[in-house]
Symmetry: C2
Amino acid sequence: MDKNMKIGFIGLGVMGQSMAGHLLDAGYDLHVYNRTKSKAEGLLARGAEWMSSVEALAKRCEVIFTILGFPADVEEVYLGEGGLLAHARPGTVLVDMTTSSPELAERIYQVALSRELKVLDAPVSGGDLGARAGTLSIMAGGEKELFDELLPLLGCMGNNIVHQGPAGSGQHCKMCNQITIASNMLGVCEAMAYAQKSGLDTEKVLKSISSGAAGSWSLENLAPRMLEGNFDPGFFVKHFIKDMGIAADSAEGMSLDLPGLELALTRYRALQASGFGDEGTQALFRLYSPDQGAV
Amino acid sequence: MDKNMKIGFIGLGVMGQSMAGHLLDAGYDLHVYNRTKSKAEGLLARGAEWMSSVEALAKRCEVIFTILGFPADVEEVYLGEGGLLAHARPGTVLVDMTTSSPELAERIYQVALSRELKVLDAPVSGGDLGARAGTLSIMAGGEKELFDELLPLLGCMGNNIVHQGPAGSGQHCKMCNQITIASNMLGVCEAMAYAQKSGLDTEKVLKSISSGAAGSWSLENLAPRMLEGNFDPGFFVKHFIKDMGIAADSAEGMSLDLPGLELALTRYRALQASGFGDEGTQALFRLYSPDQGAV
């Protein structure tokens, strides 16, 4: 792709900062905007250009990436009065990498069509470590031709990049990812709670069960943190609740009954209600462990 | 270990046949008994000696392995009138590899002590493939000294052999394995159902989510079978229900609330009630898929 092309990036949280940094490292002319300007400082020091508003960025850039917090933020940044769809020039490409609602992604796609803009929904998995290493999994929805054009840019941020189908499909795929994790977290917590309660040596239990049919990323990576009482966020409880809520709404809209997801969502909401929304998802273990303050 | 030592093996189902076969291959003097004699034929043809009853086998052998169906079978074979504890000679070693109740394992251990017998509970995971390949994970409970003595024999059947603690600990560890799998199966089924319902290409979804934080043995091995409608048993629904029931009872006995396990057990019982108890655990997907006859 043309390295002189003006790239925009909105949303400089932990994920966004790393992802935008890769575009900068690859030599693109990067323009950034974020609600809290201080989070842009590192990128500005490395040569990114600050834009004073979404509107200003929209008018300047040819390809614009966003990774925001909640669907309400996506709605405002895309569909609001000062938003991307109102101010981007015809032909501009908009890529939303927020984990957000499939229905909203489809709505943005329809509005964009009518304004001669091109959009892709492209949420990611892989967390802060994947973002930093440029090894994210990127699940994209939108026109295949557009997806193919964007591959050089997406390839700066991820290494498992799959076109899932039409607009909204990237979000739907991300929902599958979160649905799988939701119930598995219950299983991992419950097994570790059972192990402790029955007096087993949890390290030995993990040695016996991690490599077989019970094995999973969560068991391998999060069970040890649970057992150490390390609830530092890799992935925030509050964000996981947001994602599961979107998945539950989306499933309900399709008349699909997902009792495992519902149970996990209920349990995580109880955890958040006890004041642990800013911890990592492994903090679910607190609900099973009388010493951890959330029972 | 002394290759002339008389080894007994009771329970020649799919697992038992393979496991006993490895002891035979290793050159041990193998004596076998099974309720249905025909299942012993392969082993007898290879040199194993048929015993006409549990009692006869108990009187003849120095180390006796069992892998049976349900806890009631274990209770009968160990504690019944014609059982192992009544008829084994002092000093005999008894190793129960059935997935059974931790409480029963402790009870057998206590009775055995009073009769100068040595027992180990040593359930396995790895399924029929692991049994055939001799790569089972073996989780053992009982005296450490006895465990160490038995390692050469256990090593014929498994390659991840861990002493978990005192009598009952092997069973407790196996419960941790099954508890982990139970909720994860909900997540895998629900994600695949969501993928289908939202019109995604499930192969692409698996490409996006299998290697990241949603990844698990079940997602990798069982999701493809679900999607093909292949519900052939690797591990039977009816046996998984047995195991989850033991885990649920055991958790209740420890006043431990495991809602994920309870939900999985309820769902699997519904599946069995629809007539699918003899299928593999991936048949849980039927409950989510209107074409599969169990909704």
